[in-house]
Amino acid sequence: MSYLWAAQVAEARRAGCAQRSALLRHRYLTERPLGMVMWQLGAEPFTAAAVAWGFGPEQREIAVPGEPRDRELSFRALTGVARSFNAWFEGATGRDQPPQIVIPNRGNLRLLDRLGRRLAYLPTDGETPADPELVRFGIHLRFLAERVLYPGQQLVVALTELLSTHWITELSELEGQSLPALDAAIDPPEHLTAHEAARSAEGVEIGPLPSREDDERVDPLVAAFNRRRGRRAEESVVAPLRSEIEQHYLQLVDRGWVLLWRCLARERAYHEAPGVARRWQEDVDALERHLDWVNEGGRYRTRHTHARAARTMRRWEDAQRLLEAEEAIDDPLRMIPALLANDAVQGRVVDVDLAHREQGPKRSVRRPLVTLACEERCLMPIGKQLWWTGTPAAKHYTVLTVVPAGAAWHVTLRHETSYAHPRPEVGEDVTFSIHHTSASLPIMLPDNPPWTHRKQEVAMDAIEEGQDARGWE
């Protein structure tokens, strides 16, 4: 919990409206993302009872299998989704931007993940072959579900996450998972406070898990559908029988559909932070690697090797550090928690000593000094490493002294490099912080696991690194 967050929650309460936690928008939003809203059947987490997809509030398609527990009906409906999704996602339909998917909440994310797991490994031959489109759809969903764990990724935007990283409301984390409540707290109707608006909106369910009432309404419809179709599954038979179920889900889907595009439009109006572009490029690169891999017929392992898990975790740690650093450097409001936690210092440069030299291990070396005057007492420990926000990828500075100077405090930092380098100038107002964007050292991992990481009795050859490397990643 940062102090700023606590203060802003209190302010949200006092003012009766949500507070921005960022001056800028820290996520990339494409011009024409794909919106998706899904519903599952009550206690059937691996089903899609309805999938809606489209590129705007007026552009919506929907697939409803009628009986999602029936493999044939379910896969047929999903194949429809898969065809349009794959064509767009793989770029066959000539999209002019890399694909971005917008969904209302984490629940939809988890359902996409589960559907991916169900579809990606289906056999495409044998007695009941699955449509290859369906399998590819599953593989794409697996890729996206894994990508979502990458800090700062923007290929999939869950709106509840987008809103809660940019707004501070009185809602608890659990309450903030309701997009209607969050939206109402951010943009309450004129006569209501954020609190009142959120309270009345949180009863609106937008899926994917249905409320008891919604499930009780659909249950007799599905029962009647099954009774009338007997065991038939042909499209010509079932299509006319499922219109009531379709009507039911259309109504449910539209609750979320309108909300989704409205929230998206509101966030798009904020200026994009400069660091967003680098992260988007990273996403696009990851996407292209994925598409190339799938085009070559590659599949994904269900389990990581030790080395791969280790490298993935290291990449996530780096991505998380870069995300926090870029947001703080881009956005003064995002730097405040660092300032309050003594992880950053702000002041006016009063002295720059470029000629300062110190005795190194072998000879004397040039180590420029920069001195700031701060209005408040600086609690930065001596020896702490800081980076100037002007050059966050360059060599760090070290806090050398913190001394009182009249009403102010003078903080002297030593730049740990002698190279000619952009440095702050006297009179400039500057920020030094723990945030930096330099690359971390690579980890040296042998491809073959050491004996400590191999099972004593069972050889785990099947998933060891290095074998059959062409076919699997």
Binding site: R303, A309, A310, M313, W316, E317, A341, N342, P381, P450
Partner: protein, 452 residues
Amino acid sequence: MSPYDETVVAVANRVVDEAIAAALGASEQEAVVGVAPAGGGKSYAIGTAVRAARDLDLRVAVATPTNEQAFALVSGIAERLTDETVTFVPASTVTLPTEHRRPNTVEREARNTGADSILVGTLSKLGDAFGRGSLRPVDLLLVDEAYQANAVHYYMVGDLAPRHLLMGDSGQLAPFTTAPAADRWRGLDEDPLLTAVEVLLRNHPDSAEFRLPISRRLDPRAIPVARTFYPGHEFAAAVKPGVRELVLAGATGPRENRFLDAVLDHAAPSGWAHLELPESAVLTADPEAIETIVALVRRLFERKPRVRCERHRSWGELRSDQVAVAVSHNDQKALLRMALDDAGFQNVVVNTANKLQGLTFEVVLAWHPLAGLLEVDDFHIDPGRLCVMLTRHRQACIVVGRAADRELVNGIPPATPSYVGWDSNPGLEGWYAHESVFAALEAHRIAMGSSV
């Protein structure tokens, strides 16, 4: 008369000898685990193991998670094995501090250590050098603080030696990551956040385990609280009751010191005091807690504290660098540092639990992790953090919290995530550890505002 409980010490020495014999006698691709409670003398046992391995003319590497731990091992081993040379293998930005250099220590890059017999370095450095082929394998690898080492560190050094001896303290803070989705692999063999010990036991369940039944740092008064953190692990203090003593000069001066004196006069003989500030919801760097801790330190030294123990049998003054304040957060540390400096206590150590792991002090003031919280979370409930705070002291520990803290772990524990294939549940274990510690400290509770 010996200040030590000779039976306890003898049993512990036998366990250490057995563990070392098992490691030296292990067949290829076998490891031995030695688990010690806080202050169990792990590092000393490592030194004993190095001695035994050298007597068999084996080439040995000693690896630890952090540089500071490696420095301490270099000087510790060099002092005990004066006829051997101890080689510190430094990372590129690190050099062995002067205070850890000895006549028989050298510092050498990995590629020049081919002829050296005792190598000490961090797991990352030794693993990196080995992975690049610049470090020749050794006969025996000793890992200290193996419960702090994660699976990735251990992966890097796994093939460095065919036999391992892992020493660790199971009560300390577990490996952590800043990556938000790190439970991605929980329950799976490839989980990078498993400890080195967990990895070994998952893959080699037959590995011999030895539990050191001793704490050399803690004295008998501290053992009941410390046991809370080591379920199923019996241990006793090496020193006899009453050997360690902290005495304060008579309380004189203004009445407002009465409360502080009551706390100190309770802690000095009993080894514990649990000071409770009035109930209040506060931010992490609670000014009242800071004020109270600084006042306690000031009053402690006003009372001219003297100590004696098994090592220094005659009375000596308690020095300010023998006192530490343990906190949970860096901003608590920053503000406390400033306040203590202003009060003239530059030498009193202030640090977070993570940084205090492995260190010893005479008196510790522990800022309770739950102090003034509105609800518990994974970070604050972590039993490792509380364990580190409450097991650093040789004489006395004063816990500073707020009156409602104990209510945070009353009743039914919250739902915590669980993972198939992973039996630990830090949230739940922390809940119960906190509950038992509050109960164990009940007799030492002194509430501010109560009549004392």
